[in-house]
């Protein structure tokens, strides 16, 4: 789902740190603002950056499905329950009722204009938070992500652990599939006992692999020195300065808008 999409777009060539900074700016901006038009503007900025990054939409089918489902659920629930909250004191414009008669405790479930507005706002906020942060794994090669982690001075063992988990997690699922198949072929059922036995075998196999890996790491002199050098480096170039300035400007504009809205400046 979060696979790197190879390309030579300008976003791909950016330092991963500036992409992380951009997603952080979008996160803060979306949290400080509650105005739908401003959030729409932020979404437009996000979409523009996605288009520049040339991420094919076919890669994001599952992602759109998940985000779309969350959006529908959010709008659906907020449209009914937002104005019913005991902390809501604003106006309440009922559009229609979901139930034709009064049901004890839940009432007639009114769908309100304010609720729909709030749901849309939450959905936009979600999109503005999620899409920029997803762009980081889509446009950054995993080895560059590891370099960023090194720059953030994470211990080498932790970085190795993250790298290996990219491979190890699918491998564990693959092994689990084979063991389950072996059980099925011997008439095993999905009882707790069978699942327990399956996990036992999986653990033994994983430990054996881990032992082999530990020997290989030893013979590759891993962990002999706390400081490792690196073949690749990441450079904060001029384009990164520009991109970070752009991100800061977006954040600043949103902050200014919010303060104007709050009547702080004027």
């Amino acid at each position: 789902m979060l696979e790197y999409v190879p390309s030579n777009s300008i976003v791909h060539r950016l330092d991963p740190r500036s992409k992380i900074y951009y997603s952080a700016c979008m996160l803060v901006a979306s949290l400080v603002v509650s105005s739908i038009p401003v959030l729409l503007c932020l979404l437009l900025v996000t979409i523009a950056v996605w288009m520049v990054a040339r991420i094919p939409l076919s890669k994001c089918r599952l992602l759109f499905f998940v985000v779309g489902s969350v959006a529908l659920v959010t709008i659906g629930t907020q449209s009914v329950f937002y104005t019913e909250s005991m902390w809501y004191f604003g106006s309440k414009t009922v559009l229609f009722y979901l139930l034709p008669w009064d049901v004890p405790i839940i009432g007639r479930l009114p769908v309100t204009w304010e609720g729909i507005e709030y749901g849309v706002m939450l959905t936009l906020r979600l999109l503005v938070i999620v899409l920029p942060s997803l762009m980081v794994p889509f446009t950054t090669h995993p080895s560059e992500i590891m370099l960023v982690l090194r720059k953030f001075r994470l211990p080498n063992w932790l970085i190795l652990l993250l790298t290996m988990s990219i491979r190890f997690v699918p491998m564990i699922f693959q092994n689990l599939g084979i063991i389950r198949n072996a059980q099925k072929l011997r008439g095993g059922r999905s009882r707790f006992k069978d699942l327990n036995l399956m996990l036992g075998t999986l653990l033994i196999i994983s430990l054996k692999t881990a032992k082999q890996m530990a020997l290989a790491l030893d013979s590759k002199a891993f962990g002999q020195s706390k400081q490792r050098t690196s073949l690749k480096t990441i450079n904060f170039a001029q384009r990164d300065v520009l991109f970070c300035s752009f991100s800061s400007t977006v954040l600043a504009a949103v902050a200014v808008w919010t303060q104007i809205g709050a009547g702080w400046i004027i």
Binding site: S143, L185, R186, M198, T201, L215, S219, Q224, T233
Partner: protein
């Protein structure tokens, strides 16, 4: 201590005992490895091969503790006094399973890994990566994700990583055990090239057919001691390899069969050498071809019927238009390169995968319409570890049985020679024993059909032979057997019929001799040496077993013979 002359590694009086063991794994080993040698370490599983290799690069005593006596000196460095990181610049290490030796997300990162760990400056790391890419010839893989590569490519990346810091010795522990013929050829070709560049190769192996021609010296280990050391021709000729239960190259077997030869120089290690030696002799020998169509093959009641089968995952087609009928009591080999669809086909046969198109019938019943398929078909996975779940061997055999037939369990324990292990945890047994337990579990249901997926890979010849004899026994008792394997010598010696797959299709199907005499190159397969030699010597149909070489034909002297008769 420095090493004199061309000696690059010196082992003196080495004894080693693992922390959890009571017996020494290595007993008084004395060995000098000379610069530029291609040294093969042979021996059965558990003979101490891996332990000896671990002692060469400092894994023993630094990463695995235990009791170590004697000394190991590599490139002038005592392994006891120098840490693994110091030794890593002198000795590169490659293990059997490439998957467990790749830690990075690109090939170039993998090649830079050791140099980075040793804190080399950046330009030096770049030089290391370039050297490794060129030495192994994998420049085209530079930016690839290592886990997407084929088995042979993965292992070549692992080798490139091991030599990236230009070690003087490369130590390899059965690096080709999990590979198909193509992968094996790739890896051995790479090793040959590195050896020609001056890197000393020390490699543990138990399949000598391909590697023998590259070998300059061979040592044989048994119970932790060196029992033979010398030129591979000498070692094979004095029969020590065969006597301890390993399989000698078929060309050597041919040589022994042809003359009962004792002359080292005349022992061929390659098909070409064998042809040079015996091309003329082969036309003069009697040939006793064994029956290609034994009685059991005449049963025409189908056990497995596959019609127009296609199977795929999403957009990828794995099996395409497969039509295959296997009759009752047949012993069929299913061969083909890795990724050709053999295992997928087997999975469809046992009902674990549902066909996209077409039908599969087992004993006349459509696999989609029955849930009791596991009672008819026994399946043995490639790695026995995936099919062992229980705490004891006995409960393992009983697992999944509806009626606990104790008499049958006893019988299976007896047949598989597992009685002494009945209370042991299956995972504590050796690989060969685990394979036997896994086979026993497949037999517990008394299936009519037994499908075995690569049961011969990664285990030594003694175990393979035991397993194959058991399969033959089951076959003679009326079972239908489908054997998926890469080992063409096994196919030739044990199977009646061969089905060849490539790119998800069946490309050849027929009796073993006919299939082996056809060109198998397209499917990246090589016939056994005896078949290749006899084909190139003009013998049609070719020989497929060494036992088919009979005695020499008498010289034709018709006149003298007549006279003798008259007298």
């Amino acid at each position: 201590m420095t090493l004199e002359g061309d000696v690059i590694a010196r082992i003196r009086g080495l004894c080693y005992k693992y922390p959890s063991s009571e017996e020494f794994a290595l007993k008084n080993i004395n060995l000098d490895v000379r610069r530029g040698e291609f040294l093969v370490v042979a021996g059965r599983s558990g003979s101490g091969k891996s332990t000896l290799l671990y002692a060469l690069n400092g894994i023993i005593p630094h990463a695995i503790s235990g009791e170590m006596r004697g000394s190991v000196n590599v490139c002038g460095l005592d392994t006891r006094e120098n840490e693994i990181n110091v030794l890593a610049t002198k000795v590169g290490m490659v293990f059997q399973n490439p998957e467990a030796q790749l830690f990075n997300v690109t090939v170039e990162d993998e090649l830079a890994f050791i140099a980075e760990n040793l804190c080399y400056p950046r330009d030096e790391i770049e030089r290391c990566v370039d050297f490794a890419l060129d030495a192994v010839g994998i420049r085209d893989l530079r930016t690839r994700y290592p886990f997407e590569l084929s088995g042979g490519e993965k292992q070549r990346v692992v080798i490139a990583s091991a030599i990236s810091v230009k070690p003087e010795i490369l130590v390899l522990d059965e690096p080709t055990a999990d590979l198909d013929a193509l992968g094996r050829e790739m890896v051995l070709g790479t090793l040959k090239k590195l050896n020609e560049m001056g890197i000393t190769i020390v490699i543990a192996e138990h399949d000598f057919d391909e590697i023998a021609k590259y070998t300059s010296r061979m040592i044989v280990l048994e119970n932790g001691r060196i029992v033979a050391d010398g030129d591979p021709r000498d070692v094979f000729l004095n029969r020590v390899v065969k006597n301890i239960g390993l399989r000698v190259p078929q060309t050597v077997e041919i040589s022994l069969r042809m003359k009962g030869s004792t002359n080292t120089r005349s022992v061929p290690l390659t098909v070409e050498e064998a042809l040079n030696c015996y091309k003329d002799d082969l036309s003069k020998i009697r040939i006793s071809r064994k029956n290609d169509n034994p009685a059991s093959a005449k049963h025409t009641k189908p056990a497995i019927e596959i019609e127009n089968l296609s199977f795929g995952y999403r957009d990828v087609t794995v099996l395409e238009n497969i039509n295959l009928t296997i009759n009752e009591r047949e012993l069929v080999a299913l061969v083909g390169p890795n990724g050709s669809g053999k295992t997928t086909l087997a999975m469809v046969m046992v009902g674990l995968l549902k066909p996209k198109k077409g039908t599969v019938r087992i004993g006349g019943v459509d696999t989609r319409k029955t849930k009791r398929l596991h009672e008819k078909v026994g399946f043995l996975f490639q790695n026995p570890d995936y099919q062992l779940f229980c705490d004891t061997v006995e409960s393992e055999i009983q697992y999944g049985l509806k009626n606990k037939n104790l008499k049958l369990v006893e019988e299976i324990l007896e047949t598989m020679d597992l009685k002494k292990y009945r209370e042991k945890h299956p995972h504590t047994l050796s690989r060969g024993e685990r394979q036997r337990v896994a086979t026993a579990t497949a037999l517990a249901r008394q299936p009519d059909i037994l499908i075995l997926d690569e049961p011969t890979s990664g285990i030594d010849w003694t175990y393979i032979k035991q397993l194959l004899n058991l399969i033959l026994d089951l076959h003679s008792k009326g079972r239908t057997i489908l054997l998926i394997t890469h080992d063409m010598r096994v196919v030739a010696e044990y199977c009646q019929r061969v089905v060849v797959m490539n790119n998800g299709r069946i490309v050849l199907d027929g009796d073993t001799r006919t299939v082996l005499s056809k060109t198998l190159k397209q499917a990246h397969l090589k016939p056994p040496p005896i078949t290749e030699i006899s084909l190139r010597a003009g013998i049609h149909p070719p020989l497929i077993k060494v036992e088919e070489i009979g005695t020499r034909k008498p010289e034709k002297k018709p006149y003298a013979t007549k006279q003798t008769q008259q007298n």
